[in-house]
Subunit: 231 residues, 2 copies
């Protein structure tokens, strides 16, 4: 075996980039190797030569896109780990919205297409890539919620916050693409504004959930204390 040439790295890279584009745009099934090769300026046999199969290319393109997206927009949003939780939440929300809206990052759209049409990679990627991100958010949320709030409520909060970021971006990408805007709440420069909105909206929501839980706790304590209490 001779040393691999430099062409290899170049072509592989171009295929990976083109595959990222097309897979994110159309999903696994609706993407053709022909289109990927064309966009990469390579021959139709290149994918099988360099990657072995469409499946393998898909998997590598997804991981590649994910890594790039996390590198471009670190999950903490540039906020220091010892900053107050409100600011860390802001950082995470900004980072998430930027990851999604960044036109050079396809990782989110892979995810979106997988949720619509799972290929089998989904569960693996969710466990390895998504869960750590969600847990990071959940832990900030728990900090803000205090100790009286139960686990289910904390999950609900985290889910709701992330959903506020994800769903509007998905809808926007579909409905605003025909040139005309729908009822146009969203331009690209609104994303910062939307992030601020989500943060203040959610902080208030969190505070309310916390207040309810603490009131419940106090009431229960008073009650049981009157009856003699419990060890």
């Amino acid at each position: 075996m001779k040393t691999p040439r430099e062409d290899t790295a170049r072509t592989r890279g171009k295929l990976l980039a083109a595959a990222g584009e097309v897979f994110a745009e159309k999903g696994f099934r609706d993407t053709t190797i022909a289109e990927i090769s064309m966009r990469a300026g390579a021959n139709i046999a290149a994918v099988n030569y360099h990657f072995g199969s469409k499946e393998i290319l898909y998997s590598e393109a997804w991981r590649h896109a994910f890594a790039k997206s996390l590198q471009a927009h670190p999950p903490d949003g540039g906020v220091a780990a010892d900053a107050p939780p409100e600011q860390r939440l802001m950082g995470q929300i900004m980072a998430l919205l930027r990851r999604i809206s960044d036109k050079d990052n396809r990782a989110f759209w892979f995810m979106h297409r997988e949720i619509a049409n799972p290929t089998g990679l989904l569960t693996e990627v969710v466990r390895e890539e998504i869960m750590p991100l969600r847990q990071r958010t959940e832990s900030v949320v728990r900090e803000l919620l205090g100790l009286c709030v139960n686990k289910r409520e904390a999950r609900f909060c985290e889910m709701g916050i992330v959903s506020q970021c994800i769903n509007p971006m998905v809808v926007r990408s579909r409905l605003n693409q025909g040139g005309k805007e729908y009822d146009g709440p969203f331009r690209i420069d609104d994303i910062e504004a939307y992030a601020r909105h989500v943060v203040s909206f959610s902080l208030a929501g969190i505070a309310a959930v916390r207040a309810v839980a603490e009131a419940r706790r106090v009431k229960r304590k008073t009650k049981t204390a009157g009856k003699g209490g419990r060890p």
Copy 2:
């Protein structure tokens, strides 16, 4: 032309129901007429005989599903039109969550598949069916927000609230379906609880947005008043 037989209505109905199932499950492209006919217990030629084409069947199945879903879960959630806005919001959120989670209602899944892979019907259905629902929610939200809040903020609120309902249900349907639950925040009987969470979380968020806007308004007024005011 003789009078149409009774078979016609029966077969048409069975095809419509089966088409609803399969289209919602797989989307337009991945659905085959063969499968629809099979599930309906009809011959493969039945679709073309009764509807003319796959496209027409798709369109009719979607509208049928939409009508059924609105009928089963009216948008106001059974809350009177003169009830306080907090309760009306609760009703709308409950109705939305029930529409989505009801296993006999496919309308939401048509929508979901269309957003992933638009067929051309999407924009029409959004304009005719979705927009009225969103406006209904937006108007309750505006009521709760008061007059100081600008249009963009109101949109952000409405978007966020609806997103909190939609996104978790989508994710749940994909990740919990392999038998194993993921990190299992969601069982079916939790939907009422989640609805209550979304309502109290969002009411607090709305109140906060309102408070900020009103504070801003007061500050501006004081300032301009000091400088002589404006008519």
